[in-house]
């Protein structure tokens, strides 16, 4: 049975990278909470995770003039979406500091959780290697 370290760690490494990216995007929202005309952005973790694992349902384009389902842009192919503001601001800024803080905290906890799962897998591998 071939054993690959990549498959032994499961989807955790990709999840960790995506969580790191999301913390970057959310930090930039919080940093620009007072910048006029700045629009808050975010990306959907689930969709990106599916994409990273190659499980995304893609729409087939059979003609040259068909428009692809998901345009790739943003950070290394992560399409960022603008957040829908809950209330308008006079200076055109759409950052809601509370929403961003909550999202940042959630993302940090998820990052820690992924780390915990990952170190569990690593411990399991170590046990298997030692064979004690």
């Amino acid at each position: 049975m071939p054993i690959s370290i990549d498959s032994a760690l499961g989807p955790m490494p990709e999840a960790l990278v995506l969580r790191g990216r999301r913390s970057e995007v959310l930090a930039s929202n919080l940093a620009n909470a007072d910048t006029p005309n700045f629009k808050a952005r975010d990306f959907e973790f689930r969709a990106m995770m599916d994409k990273a694992q190659g499980e995304q349902l893609a729409m087939q384009t059979t003609k040259a003039r068909h428009i692809a389902f998901e345009p790739d842009s943003g950070i290394n192919g992560i399409p960022l979406r603008y957040r829908v503001p809950s209330q308008p601001a006079l200076d055109g800024n759409t950052v809601d500091a509370q929403v961003e803080q909550a999202a940042f905290a959630e993302n940090a906890v998820n990052y820690q959780a992924t780390l915990t799962f990952l170190s569990g897998r690593i411990k399991g591998l170590m046990t298997a290697l030692k064979g004690e």
């Binding site: 913390s23 930039s28 940093a31 620009n32 007072d34 910048t35 990052y111 780390l115």
Partner: protein
């Protein structure tokens, strides 16, 4: 490593907010600095923030903050009758700065809250990075 970029982003925001706090301090300190002419009198200053799109990291869309510049408040100055003041003109008037203390206090509170927000972001990112370093131990 995107978590290091988070440090840059939060750091840029903290420096921008401290510039804002500096202008508030300068405005409040000079709230009573009268002048002889309209041109030489102190005028309230405000920093202008802008997002640093793509300037910080080539491949990234995340943005820090930079201070585009400091603008002076263009509201007309008030005059006060003070014939004893050595700066007074022939009619006995001096010019007062157009600093609004209430505006400045609101600015100060907003800047200090934003600063604290970014310190929290920095702390959380630091903990996340340290936990990543301890991975597998």
């Amino acid at each position: 490593m995107s978590l290091f970029k988070t440090f840059d982003i939060a750091g840029s925001a903290m420096s921008a907010q401290s510039v804002r706090l500096n202008t508030v301090a300068s405005n409040l300190a000079n709230a009573e600095s009268v002048g002889a002419t309209e041109a030489t009198t102190y005028k309230a200053r405000q920093p202008v923030f802008a997002a640093m799109l793509k300037a910080m990291h080539g491949e990234s869309e995340a943005a820090g903050v930079r201070v585009l510049g400091i603008v002076e408040n263009q509201e007309p100055l008030q005059q006060r009758y003070a014939p004893d003041n050595p700066l007074a003109n022939e009619e006995g008037y001096v010019y007062l700065p157009n600093v609004n203390a209430v505006d400045e206090m609101v600015n100060m509170i907003s800047a200090s809250r934003s600063y604290q927000n970014n310190v929290e972001v920095l702390n959380t990112s630091k903990q996340m990075l340290l936990a990543t370093l301890r991975l597998g131990q």
